[in-house]
Amino acid sequence: MSPLHLPFYSTFILSALGLAFHRTHLILALLCLESMMLSMYIALSTWPVENLTSTPMLMPVLMLAFSACEAGTGLAMMVASARTHGSDLLHNLNLLQC
């Protein structure tokens, strides 16, 4: 793989592994999602520069808009779970009533 693409791939893989293996806070999962999105964004931006085509220049902005909505939804759900369960610790997401 070319040295230009290596950082993108490794960032994406590491963030995906971070999303899979987090154990404590919900906000860590959201952060990993954000870094996955960031690596995809920079990759999408450098691809039309490499291939010297101008049509796919639109795609990063489109992806950014949708990922912003998704980040907002994720934060809202975290706030909602913090309101009901007291904090965003994953240990607290149970049905215990005491």
Binding site: Y9, I13, A16, L17, L19, A20, F21
Partner: protein
């Protein structure tokens, strides 16, 4: 001297004399009091006789435009005053009646601490009314119209500590506002179609019904025709001078005056004239029926006013504006006098307004009761008093015209009832045994009482003759008719008097009379107030809530938008939650394993 200049300058002098107390109250230079304002209006009356006499002897009419208000360049709105027979005859009549009422009010309201403010309110009202009558374009007329409406509100609620007075004032403003919708509709139509608000620039061809219906609605609201009438009896909550000036002589005739001014527009449109005719006939009979069983002396006179306004509307519907104006002028004299006599009676009996608790006042208040009788006779159309010249001519024209028979029958029936309730009031107030407590001192020795009343009595005897002698008629009165038609008004009045005597004998029989359908209808004013006041507002508010709040706010903005989406998602989430087993570690571990395998596969 050039006669239009003489007329206009004396009119301006009259207006300046009327405005002097208002301006000096603003600058606080001279002391003004009730008597000084009365003398000012007397001076204004004498000054206003100059342009009227000039008009009578030379027939000069003039239209004067002063200044132009230019909000947009295409519609010109000058301040233009028209001095023709209507405004020239109305001016001295209104000032004469106002002078008498102010002199009476200086006795009636003598214990009032804010008496000067009361008189200034009456002066502002008078200025607005005179502006309305001399206006040549709809804009100035609208200013006068709104002015009299607002002053009516302030004066009806003069004793604002009383809840019924506040309710009555609010009722007056609301009903007048419904009429104002019609006036503004006509003004808007005129401005957009004819590009003018001057009454001379409107061609008297066939006009569509919309502006004419707007004018008729305006007259219905301001002149208390049937449908928008309840505010007039309720307006009797105000002091008696207010009732005498506003709600008998001047303000309530503003609607009829509007129709008289714009009568060239109505003259060619027979459906509009028939609307006026039938509406006027209905309101005159309804008001006369309600007046038959009233026990408050001021309410009887208020319903009598409403009935006479219906008669004026009938005259407008017969395409006889000059006769309607004649009835306005003669009606002002005797109706104001009736109110002043009732004010004298009420004050002397220490606030008693129920005629069942009055009696035998002929011996105790001879001047007042004699003038009350003269006023009632003039109202009934007794030959050669003031009311005869207008009322008898109206009945003769009704009988000899080609019109709706139902309107004719209703008006004749109302003429009969006029005699009935007038005689009932006279019998119960003046004759019979004394039914009041003997503790209140009753005298009328104050010249502030008997001078205005006798002055107005003289007016209500000679005014008809004077006005008809000096103003040439615009149409030929009917000259030949069968004898029973000629005698119709007199016969009906005599029948009405007989009916009143029979009814009063009925109440003194050993067995009390049973309440019949007719008497229940009359006592409860046709059930109009409870039917309309509750249902119309409830329906309006209900439909408003359904459309604005339930439909638009709650449904379209919320359910079809974010909340609907949220509820859809919730349905799906609730269904799939039971299928989740919550093994997050297993899910994420399989995700990580898949990612690693794919990475290793693509490494080569």
């Amino acid at each position: 001297m050039n006669t239009p200049v003489l007329m206009n300058s004396s009119l301006l002098l009259t207006a300046l004399i009327i405005l002097t107390p208002l301006l000096s109250s603003l600058t606080k230079t001279t002391k003004i009091s009730a008597t000084s304002i009365t003398h000012t209006i007397k001076m204004a009356f004498l000054t206003s006789l100059v342009p009227t006499t000039t008009f009578i002897y030379t027939g000069t009419e003039s239209i004067t435009s002063y200044w132009e208000w230019k909000p947009i360049m295409s519609l010109k709105i000058p301040i233009s005053l028209k001095l023709d027979q209507y405004s020239m005859m109305f001016l001295p009549t209104a000032l004469f009646v106002t002078w008498s009422i102010l002199q009476f009010a200086s006795w009636y309201m003598s214990t009032e601490p804010n008496i000067t403010k009361f008189f200034l309110h009456l002066l502002v009202f008078l200025m607005a009314m005179l502006l309305l009558t001399t206006a040549n374009n709809m804009f100035l007329l609208f200013i006068g119209w709104e002015g009299v409406g607002i002053m009516s509100f302030l004066l009806i609620g003069w004793w604002h500590g009383r809840a019924e007075a506040n309710t009555a004032a609010l009722q007056a403003v609301l009903y007048n506002r419904i009429g104002d919708i019609g006036l503004i509709l006509s003004m808007a139509w005129l401005a957009s179609s004819m590009n003018t608000w001057e009454l001379q620039q409107i061609p008297p061809t066939q006009l569509p019904m919309i502006p004419l219906l707007g004018l008729i609605l305006a007259a219905t609201g301001k002149s208390a025709q049937f449908g928008l009438h309840p505010w007039l009896p309720a307006a009797m909550e105000g002091p008696t001078p207010v009732s005498a000036l506003l709600h008998s002589s001047t303000m309530v005739v503003a609607g009829i005056f509007l129709l008289i001014r714009t009568h060239p527009l109505l003259a060619n449109n027979q459906p509009a004239l028939s609307t006026c005719l039938c509406l006027g006939a209905l309101s005159t009979l309804f008001a006369a029926t309600c007046a038959l069983t009233q026990n408050d002396i001021k309410k009887i006179i208020a319903f009598s006013t409403s009935s006479q306004l219906g008669l004026m509307m009938v005259t407008v519907g017969l395409n006889l504006p000059q006769l309607a104006f004649l009835h306005i002028s003669t009606h002002a004299f005797f109706k104001a006098m009736l109110f002043l006599c009732s004010g004298s009676i009420i004050h002397n009996l220490n606030g008693e307004q129920d005629i069942r608790k009055m009696g035998n006042l002929q011996k105790m208040l001879p001047t007042t009761t004699s003038c009350l009788t003269i006023g009632s006779l003039a109202l009934m159309g007794t030959p050669f008093l003031a009311g005869f010249y207008s009322k008898d001519l109206i009945i003769e024209n009704l009988n000899t015209s080609y019109l709706n028979t139902w309107a004719l029958l209703l008006t004749l029936l109302a003429t009969m009832f006029t005699a009935t309730y007038s005689l009932r009031m006279t019998l119960l107030v003046q004759t019979g045994p004394t039914r009041m407590p003997p503790t209140s001192p009753i005298n009328e020795n104050n010249p502030a009482i008997y001078n205005p009343i006798t002055r107005l009595a003289t007016g209500s005897i000679v005014a008809g003759l004077l006005i008809t002698s000096f103003i040439p008629p615009l149409h030929t009165p009917p000259t030949t008719m069968p004898p029973h038609m000629k005698m119709a008004a007199i016969t009906l009045t005599a029948l009405g008097l007989t009916l009143a005597i029979e009814l009063s004998n009925l109440t003194q029989s050993p067995t009390p009379p049973q309440p019949s359908h007719m008497s229940t209808f009359s006592i409860s004013l046709g059930f109009f107030n409870p039917l309309i006041h509750r249902t119309s507002s409830t329906n309006l508010l209900n439909s408003g809530q359904k459309v604005a709040s339930h439909l638009i706010d709650l449904f379209w903005y919320k359910k079809l938008g974010p909340e609907g989406l949220a509820s859809l998602q919730q349905t799906m989430a609730k269904t799939s939650t039971t299928m989740h087993t919550g093994l997050i570690k297993t899910y994420l571990g399989s995700f990580a394993l898949t990612t690693l395998i794919i990475t290793l596969l693509t490494l080569n």
